[in-house]
Protein backbone atom coordinates (compact mmCIF):
# COMPACT_ATOMS: atom_id res chain seq x y z
CA UNK A 1 0.00 0.00 0.00
CA UNK A 2 2.66 2.49 1.04
CA UNK A 3 4.78 1.64 -1.97
CA UNK A 4 1.82 2.42 -4.21
CA UNK A 5 1.36 5.74 -2.45
CA UNK A 6 4.96 6.72 -3.01
CA UNK A 7 4.79 5.77 -6.64
CA UNK A 8 1.67 7.89 -7.12
CA UNK A 9 3.14 10.86 -5.30
CA UNK A 10 6.39 10.54 -7.21
CA UNK A 11 4.66 10.23 -10.55
CA UNK A 12 2.54 13.27 -9.86
CA UNK A 13 4.51 16.20 -11.27
CA UNK A 14 1.99 18.74 -10.03
CA UNK A 15 2.26 17.55 -6.43
CA UNK A 16 3.60 20.56 -4.56
CA UNK A 17 6.80 20.48 -2.59
CA UNK A 18 6.53 21.62 1.00
CA UNK A 19 8.74 24.65 1.54
CA UNK A 20 11.30 24.11 4.28
CA UNK A 21 11.91 26.43 7.21
CA UNK A 22 15.27 27.59 5.95
CA UNK A 23 13.94 28.57 2.56
CA UNK A 24 11.13 30.51 4.15
CA UNK A 25 13.45 32.51 6.43
CA UNK A 26 15.75 33.29 3.51
CA UNK A 27 12.65 34.53 1.67
CA UNK A 28 11.89 36.78 4.61
CA UNK A 29 15.34 38.38 4.43
CA UNK A 30 14.96 38.81 0.69
CA UNK A 31 11.52 40.34 1.26
CA UNK A 32 12.72 42.76 3.94
CA UNK A 33 15.97 43.91 2.40
CA UNK A 34 14.69 45.99 -0.58
CA UNK A 35 12.18 48.12 1.39
CA UNK A 36 14.77 48.61 4.12
CA UNK A 37 17.36 49.82 1.59
CA UNK A 38 14.85 52.09 -0.14
CA UNK A 39 13.78 53.52 3.24
CA UNK A 40 17.34 54.27 4.36
CA UNK A 41 18.20 55.73 0.96
CA UNK A 42 15.10 57.92 1.04
CA UNK A 43 15.92 59.22 4.53
CA UNK A 44 19.49 60.04 3.48
CA UNK A 45 18.24 61.88 0.41
CA UNK A 46 15.73 63.79 2.53
CA UNK A 47 18.41 64.83 5.04
CA UNK A 48 20.73 65.90 2.24
CA UNK A 49 18.03 67.94 0.47
CA UNK A 50 17.07 69.78 3.64
CA UNK A 51 20.69 70.47 4.66
CA UNK A 52 22.07 71.41 1.25
CA UNK A 53 18.94 73.19 0.02
CA UNK A 54 18.53 75.13 3.30
CA UNK A 55 14.85 74.21 3.42
CA UNK A 56 13.06 76.13 6.18
CA UNK A 57 12.02 73.84 9.07
CA UNK A 58 8.36 74.91 8.85
CA UNK A 59 8.30 73.52 5.33
CA UNK A 60 10.24 70.35 6.02
CA UNK A 61 12.49 69.58 8.98
CA UNK A 62 15.44 67.23 8.54
CA UNK A 63 15.02 63.61 9.67
CA UNK A 64 17.80 64.13 12.21
CA UNK A 65 15.88 67.02 13.81
CA UNK A 66 12.69 64.95 13.90
CA UNK A 67 14.56 62.06 15.46
CA UNK A 68 16.05 64.36 18.11
CA UNK A 69 12.58 65.55 19.07
CA UNK A 70 11.26 62.01 18.96
CA UNK A 71 13.91 60.92 21.44
CA UNK A 72 13.36 63.94 23.72
CA UNK A 73 9.58 63.45 23.78
CA UNK A 74 9.65 59.68 23.88
CA UNK A 75 7.78 59.32 27.16
CA UNK A 76 5.06 61.76 26.05
CA UNK A 77 4.80 59.99 22.70
CA UNK A 78 4.46 56.69 24.55
CA UNK A 79 1.74 58.04 26.88
CA UNK A 80 -0.26 59.78 24.16
CA UNK A 81 0.31 56.84 21.84
CA UNK A 82 -1.25 54.55 24.45
CA UNK A 83 -4.28 56.83 24.73
CA UNK A 84 -4.74 57.02 20.95
CA UNK A 85 -4.06 53.31 20.65
CA UNK A 86 -6.76 52.52 23.22
CA UNK A 87 -9.25 54.68 21.33
CA UNK A 88 -8.37 53.08 18.02
CA UNK A 89 -8.54 49.57 19.49
CA UNK A 90 -11.89 50.01 21.23
CA UNK A 91 -13.36 51.67 18.12
CA UNK A 92 -11.88 49.01 15.86
CA UNK A 93 -13.32 46.14 17.87
CA UNK A 94 -16.74 47.77 18.22
CA UNK A 95 -16.92 48.73 14.53
CA UNK A 96 -15.70 45.30 13.40
CA UNK A 97 -18.17 43.40 15.58
CA UNK A 98 -21.07 45.53 14.35
CA UNK A 99 -19.81 45.26 10.76
CA UNK A 100 -19.57 41.46 10.88
CA UNK A 101 -22.97 41.04 12.55
CA UNK A 102 -24.56 43.43 10.04
CA UNK A 103 -22.99 41.51 7.14
CA UNK A 104 -24.31 38.22 8.53
CA UNK A 105 -27.78 39.69 8.82
CA UNK A 106 -27.56 41.21 5.33
CA UNK A 107 -26.48 37.92 3.77
CA UNK A 108 -29.18 36.00 5.65
CA UNK A 109 -32.13 38.21 4.69
CA UNK A 110 -32.17 39.13 1.04
CA UNK A 111 -34.22 42.29 1.35
CA UNK A 112 -31.98 43.59 4.10
CA UNK A 113 -28.93 42.85 1.96
CA UNK A 114 -30.27 44.76 -1.02
CA UNK A 115 -31.26 47.71 1.14
CA UNK A 116 -28.09 47.80 3.22
CA UNK A 117 -25.46 48.28 0.52
CA UNK A 118 -26.59 51.75 -0.63
CA UNK A 119 -27.02 52.78 3.00
CA UNK A 120 -23.53 51.58 3.82
CA UNK A 121 -22.13 53.33 0.76
CA UNK A 122 -23.83 56.58 1.78
CA UNK A 123 -22.41 56.16 5.26
CA UNK A 124 -18.98 55.69 3.75
CA UNK A 125 -19.31 58.78 1.56
CA UNK A 126 -20.08 60.82 4.65
CA UNK A 127 -16.99 62.74 5.87
CA UNK A 128 -17.10 60.84 9.13
CA UNK A 129 -14.28 62.84 10.70
CA UNK A 130 -16.54 65.88 10.29
CA UNK A 131 -18.86 64.25 12.81
CA UNK A 132 -16.20 64.64 15.50
CA UNK A 133 -17.11 68.20 16.56
CA UNK A 134 -20.79 67.27 16.73
CA UNK A 135 -20.06 64.17 18.76
CA UNK A 136 -17.75 66.15 21.01
CA UNK A 137 -20.64 68.41 21.93
CA UNK A 138 -22.86 65.44 22.64
CA UNK A 139 -20.58 64.11 25.38
CA UNK A 140 -18.49 65.43 28.27
CA UNK A 141 -15.21 67.12 27.44
CA UNK A 142 -13.50 64.38 29.50
CA UNK A 143 -15.14 61.57 27.55
CA UNK A 144 -13.26 59.30 25.17
CA UNK A 145 -16.50 58.11 23.60
CA UNK A 146 -16.69 60.62 20.70
CA UNK A 147 -13.32 59.60 19.26
CA UNK A 148 -14.14 55.93 19.67
CA UNK A 149 -17.48 56.37 17.94
CA UNK A 150 -15.75 58.10 15.02
CA UNK A 151 -13.27 55.22 14.77
CA UNK A 152 -15.97 52.57 14.85
CA UNK A 153 -17.98 54.28 12.11
CA UNK A 154 -14.86 54.51 9.92
CA UNK A 155 -14.08 50.84 10.59
CA UNK A 156 -17.59 49.62 9.93
CA UNK A 157 -17.64 50.06 6.16
CA UNK A 158 -14.60 48.04 4.99
CA UNK A 159 -15.41 45.25 7.44
CA UNK A 160 -19.08 45.15 6.43
CA UNK A 161 -18.51 45.20 2.66
CA UNK A 162 -15.71 42.62 2.67
CA UNK A 163 -17.49 40.27 5.05
CA UNK A 164 -20.70 40.49 3.04
CA UNK A 165 -18.86 39.64 -0.16
CA UNK A 166 -17.21 36.68 1.54
CA UNK A 167 -20.50 35.40 2.94
CA UNK A 168 -22.15 35.64 -0.46
CA UNK A 169 -19.45 33.89 -2.41
CA UNK A 170 -20.32 30.27 -1.84
CA UNK A 171 -18.81 27.68 -4.15
CA UNK A 172 -21.77 26.02 -5.95
CA UNK A 173 -20.19 22.59 -5.47
CA UNK A 174 -20.06 23.22 -1.73
CA UNK A 175 -23.74 24.14 -1.78
CA UNK A 176 -24.77 20.95 -3.64
CA UNK A 177 -22.58 18.86 -1.40
CA UNK A 178 -24.11 20.27 1.76
CA UNK A 179 -27.56 19.76 0.21
CA UNK A 180 -26.69 16.13 -0.37
CA UNK A 181 -25.78 15.87 3.32
CA UNK A 182 -29.14 17.46 4.15
CA UNK A 183 -27.24 20.19 6.00
CA UNK A 184 -28.83 23.60 5.89
CA UNK A 185 -29.50 26.73 7.93
CA UNK A 186 -27.10 27.31 10.77
CA UNK A 187 -25.06 24.16 10.04
CA UNK A 188 -24.41 25.46 6.53
CA UNK A 189 -23.49 28.91 7.84
CA UNK A 190 -21.20 27.51 10.50
CA UNK A 191 -19.42 24.95 8.33
CA UNK A 192 -19.30 26.68 4.95
CA UNK A 193 -20.23 30.36 4.95
CA UNK A 194 -18.29 31.57 7.97
CA UNK A 195 -14.98 29.78 7.36
CA UNK A 196 -15.22 30.69 3.66
CA UNK A 197 -15.74 34.34 4.55
CA UNK A 198 -12.86 34.45 7.03
CA UNK A 199 -10.19 35.57 4.51
CA UNK A 200 -12.53 38.36 3.38
CA UNK A 201 -13.19 39.43 6.97
CA UNK A 202 -9.47 39.77 7.52
CA UNK A 203 -8.98 41.76 4.31
CA UNK A 204 -11.55 44.18 5.73
CA UNK A 205 -9.90 44.19 9.15
CA UNK A 206 -6.50 44.89 7.65
CA UNK A 207 -7.83 47.92 5.78
CA UNK A 208 -9.75 48.99 8.87
CA UNK A 209 -6.79 48.69 11.25
CA UNK A 210 -4.83 51.54 9.63
CA UNK A 211 -7.99 53.59 9.16
CA UNK A 212 -8.77 53.18 12.86
CA UNK A 213 -5.49 54.80 13.91
CA UNK A 214 -5.88 57.62 11.38
CA UNK A 215 -9.41 58.31 12.60
CA UNK A 216 -8.38 58.22 16.27
CA UNK A 217 -5.58 60.72 15.61
CA UNK A 218 -7.51 63.11 13.39
CA UNK A 219 -10.66 63.10 15.55
CA UNK A 220 -8.64 64.93 18.22
CA UNK A 221 -8.02 67.88 15.91
CA UNK A 222 -11.60 68.92 16.57
CA UNK A 223 -11.48 69.26 20.33
CA UNK A 224 -12.73 66.85 22.94
CA UNK A 225 -10.40 65.18 25.42
CA UNK A 226 -6.80 66.14 24.51
CA UNK A 227 -4.74 63.18 25.70
CA UNK A 228 -3.70 61.56 22.41
CA UNK A 229 -1.20 61.95 19.59
CA UNK A 230 -3.52 64.17 17.53
CA UNK A 231 -3.72 66.89 20.18
CA UNK A 232 0.11 66.98 20.47
CA UNK A 233 0.51 67.34 16.72
CA UNK A 234 -1.84 70.34 16.60
CA UNK A 235 -0.36 72.00 19.69
CA UNK A 236 3.25 71.52 18.50
CA UNK A 237 2.37 72.88 15.06
CA UNK A 238 0.60 75.93 16.51
CA UNK A 239 3.70 76.60 18.63
CA UNK A 240 5.82 76.45 15.43
CA UNK A 241 7.67 73.46 16.92
CA UNK A 242 7.61 71.67 13.57
CA UNK A 243 10.18 68.96 14.23
CA UNK A 244 8.22 68.03 17.38
CA UNK A 245 4.97 67.94 15.42
CA UNK A 246 6.66 65.62 12.96
CA UNK A 247 7.95 63.47 15.80
CA UNK A 248 4.36 62.86 16.91
CA UNK A 249 3.38 62.13 13.32
CA UNK A 250 6.11 59.47 13.31
CA UNK A 251 4.61 58.12 16.54
CA UNK A 252 1.20 57.92 14.87
CA UNK A 253 2.79 56.19 11.89
CA UNK A 254 4.42 53.57 14.15
CA UNK A 255 1.09 53.03 15.92
CA UNK A 256 -0.64 52.49 12.57
CA UNK A 257 2.03 49.97 11.56
CA UNK A 258 1.62 48.10 14.85
CA UNK A 259 -2.13 47.83 14.25
CA UNK A 260 -1.59 46.64 10.71
CA UNK A 261 1.05 44.10 11.72
CA UNK A 262 -1.10 42.70 14.53
CA UNK A 263 -4.10 42.27 12.24
CA UNK A 264 -1.84 40.60 9.67
CA UNK A 265 -0.53 38.27 12.38
CA UNK A 266 -4.06 37.41 13.53
CA UNK A 267 -4.99 36.67 9.93
CA UNK A 268 -2.13 34.22 9.63
CA UNK A 269 -3.15 32.50 12.85
CA UNK A 270 -6.82 32.31 11.94
CA UNK A 271 -6.39 31.08 8.35
CA UNK A 272 -3.58 28.53 8.48
CA UNK A 273 -4.71 26.93 5.20
CA UNK A 274 -3.74 30.03 3.25
CA UNK A 275 -0.26 30.19 4.67
CA UNK A 276 0.56 26.71 3.45
CA UNK A 277 -0.16 27.02 -0.24
Amino acid sequence: MTAAVDKIAAADPTAPVVVGRRRRSRGLVRGLLPPLLVGIGGLALWELTVKVGRVAPFILPAPSAIWEQFWLSRSVIWQTGLATGANALVGLIAGAVVGILAAMAASRFRLLGEASIPVAAALNALPIIALAPILNNMFDSTSSIPRRVVVSIVVFFPVFINTLRGLREVNPTHRELMDSYAASGWTFTRLVRLPGALPFVFTGLRQASSLAVIAAVVAEYFGGLQDGLGSRITSAASNTAYPRAWAFVVGACVLGLVFYAVSLGLERLATPWRRSR
Partner: protein
Protein backbone atom coordinates in the same frame (compact mmCIF):
# COMPACT_ATOMS: atom_id res chain seq x y z
CA UNK B 1 -32.12 -5.78 -4.75
CA UNK B 2 -32.29 -2.63 -6.86
CA UNK B 3 -30.11 0.34 -5.94
CA UNK B 4 -31.97 2.87 -8.06
CA UNK B 5 -35.28 2.66 -9.87
CA UNK B 6 -36.70 5.36 -12.12
CA UNK B 7 -39.92 5.06 -14.08
CA UNK B 8 -41.37 7.64 -16.40
CA UNK B 9 -39.15 10.34 -14.92
CA UNK B 10 -39.22 13.75 -16.59
CA UNK B 11 -37.89 17.14 -15.64
CA UNK B 12 -38.99 20.51 -17.01
CA UNK B 13 -37.15 23.66 -15.93
CA UNK B 14 -39.01 26.99 -15.82
CA UNK B 15 -42.28 25.26 -16.66
CA UNK B 16 -44.88 27.53 -18.26
CA UNK B 17 -42.42 30.32 -18.96
CA UNK B 18 -40.89 31.53 -22.20
CA UNK B 19 -37.55 29.94 -21.30
CA UNK B 20 -39.09 26.54 -20.54
CA UNK B 21 -36.64 23.68 -21.07
CA UNK B 22 -37.54 20.02 -21.23
CA UNK B 23 -34.39 18.62 -19.66
CA UNK B 24 -35.52 15.00 -19.43
CA UNK B 25 -38.47 13.01 -20.61
CA UNK B 26 -39.73 9.45 -20.09
CA UNK B 27 -36.68 8.04 -18.34
CA UNK B 28 -36.94 4.43 -17.18
CA UNK B 29 -33.81 3.07 -15.60
CA UNK B 30 -32.99 0.41 -13.05
CA UNK B 31 -29.59 0.02 -11.46
CA UNK B 32 -29.07 -3.30 -9.73
CA UNK B 33 -27.14 -3.48 -6.51
CA UNK B 34 -23.38 -3.57 -7.11
CA UNK B 35 -23.72 -2.53 -10.74
CA UNK B 36 -21.62 0.16 -12.39
CA UNK B 37 -23.71 2.24 -14.79
CA UNK B 38 -22.40 5.11 -16.91
CA UNK B 39 -24.47 7.90 -18.40
CA UNK B 40 -23.04 9.24 -21.65
CA UNK B 41 -24.30 11.72 -24.21
CA UNK B 42 -23.77 15.14 -25.74
CA UNK B 43 -23.96 18.33 -23.66
CA UNK B 44 -27.54 19.17 -22.82
CA UNK B 45 -28.76 15.57 -22.90
CA UNK B 46 -29.69 15.81 -19.23
CA UNK B 47 -27.19 13.33 -17.81
CA UNK B 48 -26.19 15.65 -14.98
CA UNK B 49 -29.85 16.48 -14.41
CA UNK B 50 -30.58 12.76 -14.13
CA UNK B 51 -27.81 12.34 -11.57
CA UNK B 52 -29.11 15.30 -9.54
CA UNK B 53 -32.61 13.82 -9.62
CA UNK B 54 -31.31 10.59 -8.15
CA UNK B 55 -29.41 12.65 -5.55
CA UNK B 56 -32.61 14.57 -4.76
CA UNK B 57 -30.79 17.85 -5.34
CA UNK B 58 -33.66 18.67 -7.73
CA UNK B 59 -37.19 17.20 -7.86
CA UNK B 60 -38.68 15.40 -10.89
CA UNK B 61 -41.64 16.99 -12.71
CA UNK B 62 -43.14 13.61 -13.58
CA UNK B 63 -42.56 9.96 -12.75
CA UNK B 64 -41.37 8.09 -9.69
CA UNK B 65 -37.89 7.60 -8.36
CA UNK B 66 -36.66 5.34 -5.60
CA UNK B 67 -33.16 4.97 -4.18
CA UNK B 68 -32.40 1.90 -2.07
CA UNK B 69 -36.12 1.18 -2.07
CA UNK B 70 -36.99 4.55 -0.52
CA UNK B 71 -38.25 7.82 -1.97
CA UNK B 72 -35.28 9.93 -3.13
CA UNK B 73 -35.75 12.52 -0.39
CA UNK B 74 -35.70 9.90 2.36
CA UNK B 75 -32.61 8.33 0.79
CA UNK B 76 -30.82 11.69 0.80
CA UNK B 77 -31.71 12.37 4.42
CA UNK B 78 -30.47 8.89 5.35
CA UNK B 79 -27.23 9.48 3.41
CA UNK B 80 -27.86 6.42 1.26
CA UNK B 81 -25.49 7.76 -1.37
CA UNK B 82 -22.14 9.52 -1.64
CA UNK B 83 -21.59 12.07 -4.35
CA UNK B 84 -18.57 13.50 -6.19
CA UNK B 85 -18.51 16.26 -8.78
CA UNK B 86 -16.21 17.39 -11.58
CA UNK B 87 -14.73 19.87 -9.15
CA UNK B 88 -13.40 18.13 -6.08
CA UNK B 89 -15.14 20.80 -4.00
CA UNK B 90 -12.99 20.22 -0.94
CA UNK B 91 -13.31 22.69 1.90
CA UNK B 92 -9.98 24.50 1.69
CA UNK B 93 -10.02 25.48 5.38
CA UNK B 94 -10.19 21.85 6.50
CA UNK B 95 -7.33 19.41 6.38
CA UNK B 96 -7.66 16.39 4.10
CA UNK B 97 -8.65 14.19 7.06
CA UNK B 98 -11.28 16.63 8.29
CA UNK B 99 -12.69 16.94 4.78
CA UNK B 100 -13.27 13.20 4.71
CA UNK B 101 -14.73 13.36 8.23
CA UNK B 102 -17.32 15.97 7.28
CA UNK B 103 -20.20 13.71 6.17
CA UNK B 104 -19.64 11.58 9.28
CA UNK B 105 -19.63 14.69 11.44
CA UNK B 106 -22.98 15.75 9.98
CA UNK B 107 -24.33 12.31 10.73
CA UNK B 108 -23.38 12.69 14.37
CA UNK B 109 -20.68 10.01 14.36
CA UNK B 110 -18.42 10.20 17.42
CA UNK B 111 -15.01 11.82 17.16
CA UNK B 112 -12.90 8.69 17.48
CA UNK B 113 -15.03 6.61 15.11
CA UNK B 114 -14.99 9.49 12.63
CA UNK B 115 -11.24 9.65 12.61
CA UNK B 116 -10.90 5.88 12.25
CA UNK B 117 -13.30 5.74 9.30
CA UNK B 118 -11.71 8.74 7.58
CA UNK B 119 -8.26 7.23 7.94
CA UNK B 120 -9.55 3.96 6.52
CA UNK B 121 -11.00 5.82 3.50
CA UNK B 122 -7.77 7.73 2.93
CA UNK B 123 -5.89 4.47 2.94
CA UNK B 124 -8.34 3.14 0.37
CA UNK B 125 -7.48 5.98 -2.01
CA UNK B 126 -3.77 5.83 -1.12
CA UNK B 127 -3.49 9.22 0.60
CA UNK B 128 -2.79 8.24 4.22
CA UNK B 129 0.39 10.30 4.19
CA UNK B 130 -1.49 13.46 3.30
CA UNK B 131 -4.11 13.42 6.08
CA UNK B 132 -2.76 16.58 7.74
CA UNK B 133 -2.30 18.53 4.49
CA UNK B 134 -4.62 21.25 3.30
CA UNK B 135 -6.34 20.73 -0.08
CA UNK B 136 -4.39 23.59 -1.68
CA UNK B 137 -1.21 21.58 -1.08
CA UNK B 138 -2.45 18.69 -3.23
CA UNK B 139 -2.53 18.24 -7.00
CA UNK B 140 -5.84 18.05 -8.87
CA UNK B 141 -5.77 14.24 -9.06
CA UNK B 142 -5.05 13.92 -5.36
CA UNK B 143 -7.86 16.33 -4.53
CA UNK B 144 -10.25 14.26 -6.61
CA UNK B 145 -9.19 11.13 -4.71
CA UNK B 146 -9.94 12.92 -1.44
CA UNK B 147 -13.38 13.80 -2.82
CA UNK B 148 -13.98 10.12 -3.61
CA UNK B 149 -12.82 9.13 -0.12
CA UNK B 150 -15.25 11.68 1.30
CA UNK B 151 -18.10 10.33 -0.85
CA UNK B 152 -17.38 6.82 0.45
CA UNK B 153 -16.89 7.78 4.10
CA UNK B 154 -20.40 6.91 5.26
CA UNK B 155 -20.17 3.54 3.46
CA UNK B 156 -23.06 4.45 1.16
CA UNK B 157 -24.58 1.64 -0.89
CA UNK B 158 -24.63 4.02 -3.87
CA UNK B 159 -22.00 6.29 -5.37
CA UNK B 160 -23.02 9.14 -7.69
CA UNK B 161 -20.29 10.74 -9.79
CA UNK B 162 -20.63 13.68 -12.16
CA UNK B 163 -17.61 13.69 -14.51
CA UNK B 164 -15.27 13.33 -11.55
CA UNK B 165 -12.22 12.80 -13.77
CA UNK B 166 -13.22 15.34 -16.41
CA UNK B 167 -10.61 17.91 -15.46
CA UNK B 168 -7.71 15.49 -15.10
CA UNK B 169 -4.96 14.51 -17.50
CA UNK B 170 -5.20 11.18 -19.29
CA UNK B 171 -2.62 9.33 -17.19
CA UNK B 172 -4.07 10.39 -13.85
CA UNK B 173 -7.48 9.59 -15.22
CA UNK B 174 -6.67 5.99 -16.13
CA UNK B 175 -5.03 5.41 -12.76
CA UNK B 176 -8.06 6.75 -10.93
CA UNK B 177 -10.38 4.62 -13.08
CA UNK B 178 -8.57 1.50 -11.94
CA UNK B 179 -8.62 2.72 -8.37
CA UNK B 180 -12.34 3.42 -8.55
CA UNK B 181 -13.11 -0.05 -9.92
CA UNK B 182 -11.03 -1.64 -7.18
CA UNK B 183 -12.80 0.37 -4.49
CA UNK B 184 -16.26 -0.40 -5.88
CA UNK B 185 -15.47 -4.10 -6.03
CA UNK B 186 -14.02 -4.04 -2.52
CA UNK B 187 -16.99 -2.21 -0.99
CA UNK B 188 -19.78 -3.63 -3.17
CA UNK B 189 -20.97 -0.11 -3.99
CA UNK B 190 -23.36 0.52 -6.88
CA UNK B 191 -22.31 3.44 -9.04
CA UNK B 192 -23.88 5.91 -11.44
CA UNK B 193 -21.14 7.66 -13.36
CA UNK B 194 -21.65 10.61 -15.71
CA UNK B 195 -18.98 11.01 -18.37
CA UNK B 196 -18.16 12.53 -21.75
CA UNK B 197 -15.60 9.93 -22.60
CA UNK B 198 -16.59 6.80 -24.53
CA UNK B 199 -13.51 4.72 -23.54
CA UNK B 200 -14.00 5.69 -19.91
CA UNK B 201 -17.65 4.63 -19.96
CA UNK B 202 -16.84 1.29 -21.63
CA UNK B 203 -13.88 0.53 -19.38
CA UNK B 204 -15.72 1.21 -16.13
CA UNK B 205 -19.25 0.03 -16.74
CA UNK B 206 -21.44 -3.02 -16.61
CA UNK B 207 -23.95 -0.98 -18.57
CA UNK B 208 -23.59 2.19 -20.61
CA UNK B 209 -26.71 4.34 -20.83
CA UNK B 210 -26.63 6.41 -24.02
CA UNK B 211 -28.58 9.63 -23.94
CA UNK B 212 -29.61 12.21 -26.48
CA UNK B 213 -30.53 15.89 -26.27
CA UNK B 214 -33.61 18.04 -27.04
CA UNK B 215 -35.43 16.64 -25.24
CA UNK B 216 -33.04 14.75 -22.95
CA UNK B 217 -33.85 11.05 -23.03
CA UNK B 218 -32.34 7.58 -22.96
CA UNK B 219 -31.84 6.27 -26.49
CA UNK B 220 -29.95 3.07 -25.83
CA UNK B 221 -28.55 0.87 -23.09
CA UNK B 222 -25.47 -1.14 -23.97
CA UNK B 223 -24.36 -4.12 -21.88
CA UNK B 224 -20.62 -4.38 -21.48
CA UNK B 225 -19.10 -7.72 -20.50
CA UNK B 226 -15.33 -7.47 -20.27
CA UNK B 227 -14.80 -9.49 -17.10
CA UNK B 228 -12.34 -8.25 -14.47
CA UNK B 229 -10.49 -5.23 -15.85
CA UNK B 230 -6.73 -4.95 -16.19
CA UNK B 231 -4.18 -3.09 -18.29
CA UNK B 232 -4.75 -5.70 -21.02
CA UNK B 233 -8.46 -4.86 -21.12
CA UNK B 234 -7.65 -1.46 -22.61
CA UNK B 235 -6.02 -3.25 -25.56
CA UNK B 236 -8.60 -6.02 -25.95
CA UNK B 237 -10.87 -6.55 -28.94
CA UNK B 238 -13.91 -6.63 -26.67
CA UNK B 239 -13.05 -3.19 -25.34
CA UNK B 240 -12.81 -1.72 -28.85
CA UNK B 241 -16.02 -3.47 -29.88
CA UNK B 242 -17.73 -1.85 -26.89
CA UNK B 243 -16.41 1.55 -27.88
CA UNK B 244 -17.69 1.11 -31.43
CA UNK B 245 -21.12 0.05 -30.15
CA UNK B 246 -21.41 3.08 -27.88
CA UNK B 247 -20.15 5.42 -30.59
CA UNK B 248 -22.74 4.09 -33.05
CA UNK B 249 -25.47 4.51 -30.45
CA UNK B 250 -24.32 8.07 -29.81
CA UNK B 251 -24.45 8.89 -33.52
CA UNK B 252 -28.06 7.78 -33.14
CA UNK B 253 -28.72 6.09 -36.48
CA UNK B 254 -32.46 5.58 -35.93
CA UNK B 255 -33.73 9.12 -35.38
CA UNK B 256 -31.18 11.84 -36.08
CA UNK B 257 -33.57 13.99 -38.09
CA UNK B 258 -36.34 14.08 -35.52
CA UNK B 259 -33.87 14.97 -32.79
CA UNK B 260 -33.19 18.28 -34.52
CA UNK B 261 -36.83 19.30 -34.47
CA UNK B 262 -37.31 21.84 -31.67
CA UNK B 263 -39.55 20.55 -28.90
Amino acid sequence: MTAVDLSGVGKVFNAGRADQVVALTGVDLTVESGQFVSLIGPSGCGKSTLLRLVADLIRPTTGTLTVAGKPARKARLDQEYGIAFQQAGLFEWRTVLRNVELPLELRGTGRRERKRRAEEMLELVGLSDFAAHYPAQLSGGMQQRVAIARALAVHPPLLLMDEPFGALDEMTRERLQDELLRICAQTGTSTIFVTHSIPEAVYLSDRVVVMSARPGRITDVIEIDLGPRSEATRQSAGFFAGITKVRRALRGSPAPASAEVPA
